[in-house]
């Protein structure tokens, strides 16, 4: 029996398509059903959760494998295998600031940056030797820079429209993001007979 962590949100549909093509079809539609665990034939089941929680579930073995963006894998610092790049869910983690405002000038204080990705952001600034005052927000990150809470933001950029409509521009790109298959280290070895054919079909 394989337990698969399926993310809610924009990654769910393309992820389900890939699993369906690989022969793993949920008995009920996850978008419709309120169930948190959905069987998929006799040999697999889906657990449905927020994409940011996928790495933890898989690392701790509550799920054998799962789907989430590489941004979530790296931000969680979970110890996982990442054997397949699905290619969908493509976006970029970017440093962005209000148009015309310099984030490289000497401010005489730390650069204030709002983000949902404190680990990836602080690593990136640390590598560049830039002192930052990171503000960890849970949503509407753009607002932080627009309202003056911070000088800049680090956030995911898909089309760039949200940034544009709020007068923000991309200053630098931190990470190219796509959806990844993540696999628990022990499951990979102990359930290799079940997993390998699936990995080949998903890959």
């Amino acid at each position: 029996m394989l337990t698969i962590a399926l993310p809610k949100g924009r990654l769910q549909k393309p992820a389900l398509e890939r699993f369906t093509r690989a022969g793993i079809v949920p008995d009920e539609e996850p978008g419709v059903s309120r169930k948190l665990i959905i069987a998929a034939g006799p040999a697999a089941r889906f657990v449905v959760l927020k994409d940011g929680d996928v790495p933890l579930y898989v690392e701790r073995g509550a799920a054998d494998l799962g789907v989430c963006g590489i941004d979530q894998v790296l931000e969680s610092a979970a110890d996982l295998l990442t054997p397949v790049d699905f290619g969908f869910g493509r976006c970029r983690l970017c440093l962005a600031a209000p148009r015309g405002r310099s984030v490289t000038a000497e401010l005489g204080r730390s650069l204030r940056v709002a983000t949902k990705f404190p680990r990836l952001s602080s690593q990136w600034f640390l590598r560049r030797g830039v002192p930052v005052d990171l503000v960890h927000l849970s949503g509407s990150v753009e607002l932080a820079a627009v309202s003056g809470l911070t000088d800049a933001i680090v956030d995911l950029v898909e089309s760039g429209r949200t940034l544009e409509e709020n007068g923000l521009v991309v200053v630098d790109e931190i990470l190219q993001v796509t959806a990844r298959l993540v696999v628990n280290r022990a499951s990979y070895r102990l359930k290799v007979e079940e997993l390998l054919p699936l990995l080949e079909k998903l890959g």
Binding site: T82, P83, D85, R185, A186, R189, L190
Partner: protein
Amino acid sequence: MQPATPLPGTQDLLFEAANRLRRCEATLCGRFEDKGYAEVIPPAIEAADVFGPEAFRALDRSGRLIALRADFTAQVARIAATRLAGMSPLRLYYRGSIVRRVAPDSGPVHERLQAGCELVGAAGPEADAEILALAASSLHALGIRGRISLGSTGYFSALATAAGASERLAASLNDAVDRKDLPTLRTLCEREVAPGKARDAILLLAQPPRLETEARELLARAEALAPSEEALQALRRISAALAAARSLGAELEVDLGEVRGLGYYTGIVFNLYAMGSPRPVGGGGRYDTLLGRFGDPRPAVGFSLDLDALVPLAC
């Protein structure tokens, strides 16, 4: 005063939990002693330079940096290289707890219960196999079904050298191999490694683990691609250890992507996995240069078991 609970990452073991641990330890120690291993009990604190950056350190009154035990193998190597210098082979075992930082040089510490064996002064594949078979039979003695996945840090180093990889590139390649991240490994190779045998061999590292005949096929494919004598020797060493361990009754799988280990591993490296544990329950490898740090260069190989993970699974 705050309610007095154990610090995060530590625990009290009471009654049945304490009994279970002691029963498992007794089973394991019995197995180790049957195979000719003798117990050593190193101290709980050491000079800090015996361990790596994962150790929890403090200054003593004279300003000397000391550390809580972070790794039994380093302590056993120190003992073997000093008081037991020149006596080969040595078969030593230990049990007890280690204290480590969760992440090197920062963050909280945790305490872990371990038991393990070190075979010092034996360089051949029979020694590798003896340790592999003893690790396998330890799981068996606890009534735990598991798998041992065998790789080699020596082979990875040989490939990185043959590819002319910088330290930074080697670290990136190692990380991608360790994560079975074939897409990233491909990108790195295409961008930074010249086409050739070394590159093809590195790409083969992200292959899934193979059992039995498939393992031999995988090793044969890798041998055909071996870019240097060093790489070829490392592969032959895996094959020899595999064959010798099989003759001792241990079932192994070969995973050339099993490249993670403590910094001092130089040859074969392996991890133990058991049904019911999301992390490896033990691991080990060959460390032929560690004793040299303490003044008595001799080859050695060993393994340790994570009792926190194993005791709840043992029957």
